[in-house]
């Protein structure tokens, strides 16, 4: 079965890409890896006249460290990030989350910029990037800007991108000193599915084991990926006991705003947030690896 026909534009620079996207003849869509967009075209959900591909724009695939921060080009694939020594060593939480995206074949093609621009509520990388307080670099007809990831997800499949704007890079500062982190993905159907609930957490403990910094990111818990800020506050200055983890998980379940879909009801999601936030925090408190959520 063929895709609905479109014209493919392959710009060789960012300004050309922005110009091609902004041309006013029919509907244009930006394509990176195509793992979301091509499936949407196949299903007839979108029928663009023109696709603007970023594959020939140089430098967008770079993964490098600059002034201590990780810079991911928007076209870096999940496989590139998962296999990057730099990412595994310095940002292991991101590597953990990215290697849980779908299947190896999807990770070969799917890009980090595409993942964020798609604004999927149940994204695997997004909760980790929320915990890491990443910034999204965006370029458009009116120049470039930087959007903190906490402000990047505007609504259900809605990213804070104006018409003609392109995600160009993600900048990720180093994790807090002595932070331990983890990502847990709970799927209700099969392992390669998107998460029913995804939980990322970064916890920095002082010498006496008290939380000096706690960040919890949730996927599938609201119309967009979110930080569980009330849950984070319950842990301020606390040691990560089972009781503290339970209280934080309860707060996360309360502040979540989950949706009902074919994977599970809102009530079920809320219950799973309660379970998996607690399990991840207990594992981080023990210094063990949280497991069981496949």
């Amino acid at each position: 079965m063929r895709l609905h026909p479109f014209r493919l534009v392959e710009p060789e620079s960012l300004p050309e890409a922005i110009e091609a996207l902004g041309r006013l003849d029919g509907e244009a869509r930006l394509v990176a890896g195509g793992t979301a967009l091509v499936a949407m075209i196949r299903l007839g959900l979108v029928k663009p006249d023109r696709l603007v591909s970023l594959h020939r724009v140089p430098a967008l695939t770079q993964i490098r460290v600059e002034n201590g921060s990780l810079e991911l080009g928007a076209m870096a694939t999940h496989a590139d990030i998962e296999h990057s020594r730099v990412v595994r060593d310095g940002w292991p939480l991101l590597a953990d989350a990215v290697r849980r995206v779908a299947t190896p074949a999807i990770r070969t093609s799917g890009t980090i910029g595409g993942n964020l621009a798609y604004a999927e509520a149940a994204s695997d990388p997004a909760p980790a990037l929320l915990c890491l307080e990443a910034e999204v670099r965006v370029a458009g007809p009116r120049g470039s800007r930087t959007v903190p990831i906490g402000q990047f997800f505007r609504g259900f499949y809605d990213a804070a991108l104006e018409p003609g704007e392109i995600v160009t890079a993600i900048r990720i500062p180093p994790p807090p000193a002595r932070a331990r982190g983890g990502y847990i993905k709970f799927t209700s159907r099969s392992a390669e599915d998107k998460p029913l609930v995804g939980v990322a957490a970064l916890v920095a403990l002082d010498a006496s084991g008290r939380c000096v910094e706690t960040r919890i990111g949730l996927g599938g818990a609201a119309p967009t990926p979110i930080r569980a800020e009330r849950a984070e506050r319950t842990l301020r200055g606390e040691t990560l006991t089972d009781a503290a983890a339970r209280a934080a998980a309860e707060a996360a379940a309360q502040e979540a705003d989950p949706l009902t879909d074919l994977m599970g009801s809102a009530d079920y999601r809320r219950e799973m947030i309660r379970v998996w936030v607690r399990r991840l925090l207990v594992a981080l408190g023990d210094g063990t690896e949280a497991s069981g959520a496949r």
Partner: protein, 152 residues
């Protein structure tokens, strides 16, 4: 549009309409029918081929994005009339029933073994997690991949 890439060890220069995927190009442009159309949404895995040694879903990747890359399809697993060890293991162990998922599964397994020549059973199952066999013959498939790993 014009396309040039390496296909099963040979240079390939061809043309394709803008909206074709790699799967359209392989089957309809080049007549290589080993790669199957299944779901068309990247979920079932039967269209899996290798691009630069990594698995891709041919139904989701635009043909234009194959430009300059090295593709391997099931037709390219055999070399000089000799089956790839994965093909031999699948045949010897009866790891195919209806056969529709087999090309994609063999290429997903090939990608795993290129990266990790001695995977555990868990790693094999994880690598094949996106390849559905609706005859549900997974046991023999996993055994076949582990057998290849064991003989290396």
């Amino acid at each position: 549009m014009n396309l040039a890439f390496t296909l099963n060890g040979q240079p390939c220069a061809t043309e394709a309409p803008d909206h074709w995927t790699v799967l359209d190009l392989l089957r309809d442009g080049l007549g290589l029918m080993g790669t199957k159309y299944g779901c068309g949404e990247g979920v079932c895995g039967t269209c899996t081929v290798l691009a630069d040694g990594r698995p891709i879903r041919a139904c989701l990747v635009l043909a234009a994005h194959a430009r300059g890359r090295t593709l391997v399809t099931v037709e390219g697993l055999e070399r000089d009339g000799r089956l790839d060890p994965i093909q031999t293991a699948f045949a010897e162990r009866g790891a195919a029933q209806c056969g529709y998922c087999t090309p994609g599964i063999m290429l997903a397994a090939k990608a795993l073994l290129l990266e990790n020549p001695a995977p555990t059973e868990h790693e094999v199952r994880e690598a094949l997690s996106g390849n559905l066999c609706r005859c549900t013959g997974y046991t023999k498939i996993v055994e076949a991949v582990l057998a290849v790993a064991g003989t290396r």
